[in-house]
């Protein structure tokens, strides 16, 4: 099993969700998060004084999927979340040791 963690622009969430549902991904977890990458936010002026907005709002999507499907899903997700601008985000893939369905104690890929 693989955990796919994607940090994306908040306004791309709908596109990404549609794309994932389109290829049969059924279980995702979405959180509102804040952070910055290499660019470190941007500066604005308020009443004549400058301030830096460095922790920008982002969306984090987590999905645990079968090993065989990971590569395809990462590809679809990356395409759907892309605007081509700085700040589009990142995708990380980890190995997952175990999955448990709490309702009936099913284990492994069947629990996904």
């Amino acid at each position: 099993m693989k955990m796919i963690e994607a940090i994306i622009q908040p306004n791309k969430l709908e596109d990404v969700k549609e794309a994932l549902y389109g290829i049969g991904v059924e279980a995702i977890t979405v959180s509102e998060v804040r952070g910055h990458g290499r660019q470190k936010g941007h500066t604005e002026t308020y009443r004549g004084s400058e301030y830096t907005v460095d922790l920008l709002p982002k969306i984090k999507i987590e999905a645990v999927v079968a090993d065989s499907r990971a590569e395809q899903i990462v590809g679809v997700l990356s395409t759907a979340a892309r605007t081509g601008q700085i700040g589009d985000g990142k995708i990380f893939v980890f190995a997952v040791e175990e999955a448990v369905r709490i309702r009936n104690d099913e284990r492994g890929e069947t629990a996904l």
Binding site: E44, Y46, R47, S49, Y51
Partner: protein, 566 residues
């Protein structure tokens, strides 16, 4: 070396002495207000409102009285003529008793119309309180939202108590002497100066606790309208001292404004006091003129706020190690904009209402002037920021509208719409430069721009009367030029651009006195208070936000994590 014990035992009697002195002064004030009215027979207050408004309050469109008063000064050169006019009127009245009866009801209806106007515009001004609460709450950080709402709320309550007890009497206790509100029946019972007399009055002395001579329908109508004006000065300070002041010291500030700071200057200008009479005593135009309170209300509040902000010092982190100001962005722009619109709406009571009567048809000009200054002030601030910083700042656009409103408040009745538009532009520039000046040069921390909006633009408004007043309105203002002024019949208050340099002189002088009084008196009193006990919250409370340390609840409680015990 003194131990903590001796400290407390020393401060205890001092507190008692101060308290007993305050009680003595208060008792003296009440006695002083009661004694003269016991000595004099007339006039009597009219609590039921059935004797207010009769044939003597009937006037034509030009303000000429229907009745002719009996001349009292037999040595006056025109005594013979006046006596003849009076006798003719008496003869005519005896022939037409029905006309006299009709005149009595016409006079009553005229006063009633003006009561309705004054009370309803007063309610509009009251609602500005809600606008200011929204505006200032939106402009601060989320962690201080409850603190801001409580300050705005407590300002209304505590300043009202002070004004009810002594403020109203100090301001208007002698209003009938030189500035009787004739549209409301004249309030003849408020006729005694506590300090000064005649044309040199310094403090009113009747109507403490709104009892006795102030228990009168006309006086109460007037008091409702005037107390909400005082409240405006009361809440202005919130914008400059928020996010760091303790609640107890804020209450002391409000009591001070409602009892002393506002009523004293208000008496000088609106209560028939010495500044309003400078036209009669020193030949300075129509005396100091402020139609609806650019200086009397706004600059008093603004410069009081400035003194308090200097005493409190800037918020933690406002200035970095390099001395550069840092931005603490507004947490709710929606509140800021809605609050500003509520204030604009309330201002339609503030300025047109200050005629104290709908029978004064200048109200339509006042309403248009007020709006024109508001929009030109806002447009100026928007464009200024757009050109200087690349983006128009929404909070500054709102400040610009309020700046225009503050600056037009004094001249609104005396200028034409073109001048009103220009005054708004000037105010928009003053508020933008004022905010940048305070942030970068004086380093006086003013979270909501109250000092620039109400202080600087208030002074601008006072001076603008002396520049732009076009002489079409205000004939006989402050008892000057009742028949003719500057050699012209019907000429009213006139500014420098229309040929009266003395009016300009007295306006500049009055505006400077206003700023000096409001800043000076506040600074002396609260520097002392702050030396006795710090008026500022602890560093920890300020970092956490004042909501929980000061009031035990967050403005947005869902931000807190609760543990509920079942």
């Amino acid at each position: 070396m003194s131990t903590p014990n001796t400290e407390t035992s020393r401060s205890q009697p001092l507190g008692k002495v101060l308290l007993s002195r305050a009680v003595l002064v208060l008792a003296a004030c009440i006695l002083a207000s009661l004694l003269p009215c016991m000595a004099q027979v007339a006039p009597k207050p009219d609590p039921a409102g059935i004797a207010t408004g009769d044939k003597t309050t009937v006037v034509d469109a030009g303000g000429n009285s229907f009745t002719v008063a009996e001349p009292t000064d037999k040595t006056a050169p025109d005594y013979a003529q006046k006596k003849k006019d009076f006798d003719d009127f008496q003869a005519q009245a005896a022939k037409e008793p029905l006309a006299m009866k009709l005149a009595d009801s016409t006079g009553h209806i005229r006063v009633a119309t003006n009561f309705a106007w004054t009370l309803n515009t007063g309610y509009l001004v009251l609602f500005m309180q809600a606008g200011f609460a929204l505006l200032t709450c939106g402009l601060v950080r989320k962690k201080n939202a409850a603190h801001l709402m409580m300050l705005n709320f407590a300002a209304y309550v505590f300043a009202f108590i002070a004004y009810y007890a002594v403020g109203y009497a100090f301001q208007f206790g002698a209003v009938a002497v030189n500035a009787a509100p004739s549209n409301l029946g004249g309030t003849p019972t408020l006729n005694h100066f506590l300090f000064g007399s005649g044309l040199w009055g310094f403090l009113g002395g009747k109507g403490f606790f709104m009892t006795g001579p102030a228990y009168d329908a006309g006086s109460n109508c007037f008091a409702l309208f005037e107390v909400v004006f005082m409240e405006t000065a009361g809440y202005i300070i919130v914008g400059a001292i928020c996010e760091r002041i303790t609640f107890w010291s804020f209450l002391v500030c409000e009591l001070f404004i409602g009892a002393i700071l506002y009523p004293v200057f208000g008496c000088w200008v609106w209560g028939g006091g010495w500044m309003s009479q400078l036209g009669n005593t020193m030949g300075l135009g129509h005396g100091y003129v402020d139609f609806a309170g650019s200086t009397v209300v706004h600059a008093v509040g603004g410069f009081c706020a400035m003194a308090l902000s200097v005493i409190l010092g800037p918020r933690l982190g406002k200035y970095g190690a390099d001395g550069k100001p840092r931005a603490f962005p507004a947490h709710n722009i929606v509140y800021v904009v809605i609050g500003t619109f509520v204030l604009l709406f309330g201002w339609m009571g503030f300025n047109p209402g200050s005629t104290l009567g709908a029978t004064d048809l200048r109200i339509s000009v006042v309403a248009i002037n007020t709006n024109l200054a508001a929009i030109s002030g806002s447009a100026t601030a928007m464009l200024f920021w757009y050109l200087k910083f690349g983006k128009p700042d929404i909070t500054m656009a709102c400040n610009g509208m309020l700046a225009g409103l503050v600056a037009i408040t004094a001249p609104c009745a005396f200028v034409n719409p073109t001048s009103a538009f220009i005054i708004g532009i000037l105010a928009g520039l003053v508020v933008c430069l004022g905010v940048l000046f305070n942030d970068n040069v004086t380093k006086i921390d003013d979270p909501c721009g109250a000092i620039s909006v109400h202080g600087f633009c208030g002074i601008l408004g006072g001076i603008c009367v002396g520049l732009f007043a076009d002489g079409t309105y205000g004939q006989g203002w402050n008892g000057v030029g009742a028949t003719s002024y500057l050699g012209q019949a019907g000429k009213g208050v006139t500014g420098l651009f229309y040929g009266d340099s003395k009016q300009f002189l007295v306006q500049v002088m009055g505006a400077v006195i206003c700023a000096a009084w409001a800043f000076g008196a506040t600074f002396v009193v609260f520097k002392t208070v702050n030396a006795v006990k710090s008026m500022r919250v602890s560093k920890q409370a300020e970092q956490e936000g004042l909501d929980v340390p000061e009031f035990g609840i967050q403005g947005y409680p869902e931000d807190a994590v609760y543990t509920t015990e079942y």
